[in-house]
């Protein structure tokens, strides 16, 4: 016995409290069940790639800040690594370590934002976990301010190193953060991941299998949550990652819970990496080239890095002029949206939001 009902098409976004920016979904609902999803992107398109092709290599660094604006450091890092490969220069050791520390701090900050919104998306009071996460992220941002004078749009890295050495007050602040952060992470575990309601809501929901994830070329925590131990930091080390030891976190479920849980565990690993960098960093120069303006010989370069959200890389083609001929951005957020429909169809309205959050994408990076 069944009742004839008509599906409802609902536009979720671009203005919706939890679509992570101006993201729009055309969702076809049968009651509360999702029948079809169509992501609509492009509301934040700023033409970053074309802007980059109009600017000198060193000026593009400031544009990369604005791609994934919750993880500017890693954007900088991906871009300058590609540039360094293009003009073939070596970064001094201290510069490498500083970059690694900054990138890992940024990873912690980015994951904190992702995990902080988790509880809000599940429908808890929008401020609880978020405020706790932002409180800790604030300390990271304070450290970024010490490093480079800005908190979000950092422009910290330069081609050939970082722009300047860390000030002396940075190191005690980092030490304090490293000492206190595990306690706060434990608090977040208790608040979010051990709660039965959270587990009931997210376990076995929107499962992505390992094969599906690989086929869709997903990377980052989403891929690792499906059980694939692929981490570019371990597989193709860049900067100082070949000098540090850390575990590649994987989970087996591939569901919403595991995607967040992998992020939470990666925070732990990031702290471990920073700890080692803090121990191993030695005196020395932080930057090898001092010129803002250069003309690389014609060629191309692509260096992938493990950004908080997955593999990020800038494919640069040089024609010998002062600006890149082509700058293609391989952004993890955009590719994370590939499996969107497969993830959501068959689940409920309430699950859409959580699954969306579990991808932890950023519209600045999706639309570029």
């Amino acid at each position: 016995m069944s009742l004839h009902t008509e599906p409802v098409v609902v536009n979720i976004g671009p203005h919706h409290p939890s679509t992570h920016g101006v993201f729009r979904m055309r969702v076809t609902f049968d009651g509360e069940n999702v029948q079809d999803v169509e992501p609509v992107i492009g509301y934040l398109h700023r033409g970053t790639e074309k802007l980059a092709e109009e600017r000198q290599y060193s000026q593009v660094i400031t544009l990369t800040d604005r791609l994934d604006y919750v993880a500017s450091m890693t954007n900088n890092q991906a871009y300058v690594l590609s540039c360094e490969k293009l003009i073939d220069i070596e970064v001094p050791d201290r510069g490498k370590y500083l970059r690694t520390i900054a990138a890992e701090l940024q990873r912690v900050a980015s994951h904190l934002v992702g995990v902080g919104f988790f509880l809000a998306e599940l429908g808890g009071f929008g401020g609880t976990a978020l405020m706790y996460c932002f409180r800790e992220r604030e300390r990271i941002l304070d450290m970024f301010e010490m490093l480079c004078g800005a908190r979000i749009t950092v422009s910290f890295m330069r081609i050939g190193g970082v722009f300047q050495d860390a000030p002396e007050e940075f190191w005690p602040a980092l030490r304090k953060f490293l000492d206190e952060m595990p306690g706060y992470a434990d608090e977040l575990n208790k608040l979010i991941f051990e709660s039965e309601i959270v587990q009931a809501r997210t376990k076995n929901v929107s499962v992505i299998s390992a094969d599906q994830a690989i086929d869709a070329s997903l990377t980052g925590p989403i891929l690792r949550a499906s059980g694939v131990p692929w981490d570019i930091r371990a597989a193709q080390p860049y900067d100082a990652y070949d000098q540090v030891k850390f575990d590649v976190i994987t989970a087996q479920g591939g569901d919403n819970f595991d995607r967040f849980w992998v992020r939470m565990l990666e925070v732990e690993q990031s702290l471990k990496i920073i700890e080692q960098c803090y121990r191993d960093i030695r005196s020395g120069p932080v930057r090898s080239t001092t010129s803002l303006l250069f003309r690389p010989s014609p060629g191309e370069a692509y260096v992938p890095i493990e950004a908080p959200k997955g593999e990020l890389g800038f494919y640069l083609v040089s024609d010998g002029s002062i600006a890149p001929y082509r700058c293609k951005i391989r952004s993890p957020s955009f590719i994370s949206l590939t499996l969107f429909k497969e993830m959501l169809v068959g689940w409920k309205l309430a699950d859409i939001i959580v699954s969306l959050g579990s991808l932890d994408f950023n519209m600045g990076e999706v639309d570029r």
Partner: protein, 397 residues
């Protein structure tokens, strides 16, 4: 009803004053004005409490989330509610073009009305109540059902899909949680031997919270569902359906809805205090103060829950109601009936030592019944209860 009102001190004074001024031939006027003034007093107490609570909840939530909360308007931000009201009043009143204008406008009034009507039977202190209905508990349930009609009206009339989602969810929650709620009220009736709220308070030689913890648990759960409070706030689920049935409301219509919601929480707190915490009774302090403190305790608890727990999915909420709460409330009612049958004397009254016996047996019942029922529900459906906190994490490379 009128007799109970006549005991009211405000009523008596106003009535006598008007009689003394106009003479006894205008008794109907005195009756009308005196009744009106008492009703006005009670309604205003409720409204004042609700507006105060909007501030208090935001301050408390602020502290729970490691912030300060509103503290700018007036000392400690106490005038924040006033500032909000002024802001809402000066906002443009927008009605969507395709909305059913008439229903759209009347919905907030129905919502507030249902809450105010519930206030009619609740004793706010010793000898401070409007009416002592002998079916007070049923009246409360009946009147609170009206609020859901208002939600349905708002959801339909807004001509917005998010609003419709919210309204349908509200209806589903109402139908499901009314039953455990009534069951928990029934267990109170069994204990007190009356449905009058005054009688319920008078019969509480021991707080019923101790005597029947299961009923208190069911009441709190069902009430938070009826009030759209976390973790059952799917009706407004701001992360999913924007603001549910409130999506299209603006200005003071929105304000009326919010006021009604907070007032409903106050009413629920008062009901909880009356049913489970001996109402106005306690030592030393005046009865009204005790009542206020108990309502405040309930509000604090509600805020704490709101700050901590995320929301369940609608299907999980319904499963929770039908497969867990409903059997649990049946067990409780049956257990209490049997206890009363065994323990009551020939006049059907319960002595205090019998009550203590019930305290012991009911706590044992709770400790046994809840885990067993959870196990059964978990095995059968597995939906509302996830696994307990065990993580399976493999390390790669």
């Amino acid at each position: 009803m009128g007799e109970a009102l006549a005991e009211n001190i405000v009523y008596r004074h106003v009535y006598e004053f008007i009689l003394s001024v106009f003479g006894s031939e205008l008794a109907w006027l005195a009756y009308a004005i005196a009744t009106f003034s008492v009703v006005l007093l009670v309604v205003n107490v409720l409204m004042l409490l609700a507006t105060f609570y909007t501030w208090a909840e935001r301050r408390l939530l602020g502290r729970f989330t490691n912030r300060l909360g509103p503290n700018r308007a007036g000392p400690f931000g106490l005038l924040q509610a006033l500032a909000d009201a002024v802001k809402l009043l000066t906002k443009e009143d927008i009605v969507p073009r395709s909305a059913d204008r008439w229903v759209f406008n009347i919905a907030p009034i129905v919502m507030l009305g249902s809450v105010l009507m519930a206030m009619g039977v609740i004793p706010l202190g010793e000898k401070t109540f409007l009416a002592d209905l002998n079916i007070g508990l049923l009246y409360l349930v009946a009147v609170s059902g009206l609020g859901s009609i208002a939600v349905l009206m708002a959801g339909y009339a807004s001509a917005n899909k998010f609003s419709t989602f919210g309204a349908m969810r509200a209806a589903a929650v109402l139908i499901s949680y009314e039953i455990p709620l009534v069951m928990s009220l029934l267990s109170i009736t069994i204990l007190a031997g009356s449905m009058s709220l005054i009688e319920v308070v008078n019969s509480q030689t021991i707080p019923f919270l101790l005597v029947t913890p299961l009923a208190a648990f069911i009441f709190l759960t069902a009430m938070s569902a009826e009030l759209n409070r976390s973790p059952f706030d799917i009706t407004e689920g701001e992360s999913e359906i924007v603001a549910g049935y409130l999506t299209e409301y603006s200005g003071m219509k929105f304000g009326t809805f919010m006021l009604a919601e907070f007032a409903a929480l106050m009413v629920a707190g008062a009901v909880f205090a009356v049913l489970f915490l001996q109402g106005w009774k306690w030592a030393i302090l005046p009865s009204h103060i005790w009542m206020l403190l108990k309502v405040g305790l309930f509000a604090l608890l509600a805020t704490w829950v709101r700050s901590t727990l995320p929301r369940l999915r609608p299907d999980q909420i319904l499963t929770f109601a039908w497969k867990f709460l409903f059997p649990l409330s049946l067990i409780n009612v049956i257990a209490l009936s049997v206890q009363r049958l065994l323990l009551a004397d020939e006049f059907g009254n319960l002595q205090q030592q019998d009550m203590w016996l019930m305290v012991v047996s009911n706590w044992i019942l709770m400790v046994v019944a809840v885990p067993v029922l959870i196990k059964i529900t978990n095995r059968k459906s597995g939906i509302p209860f996830g696994e307990s906190a065990k993580f399976h994490v493999g390390k790669g490379v």
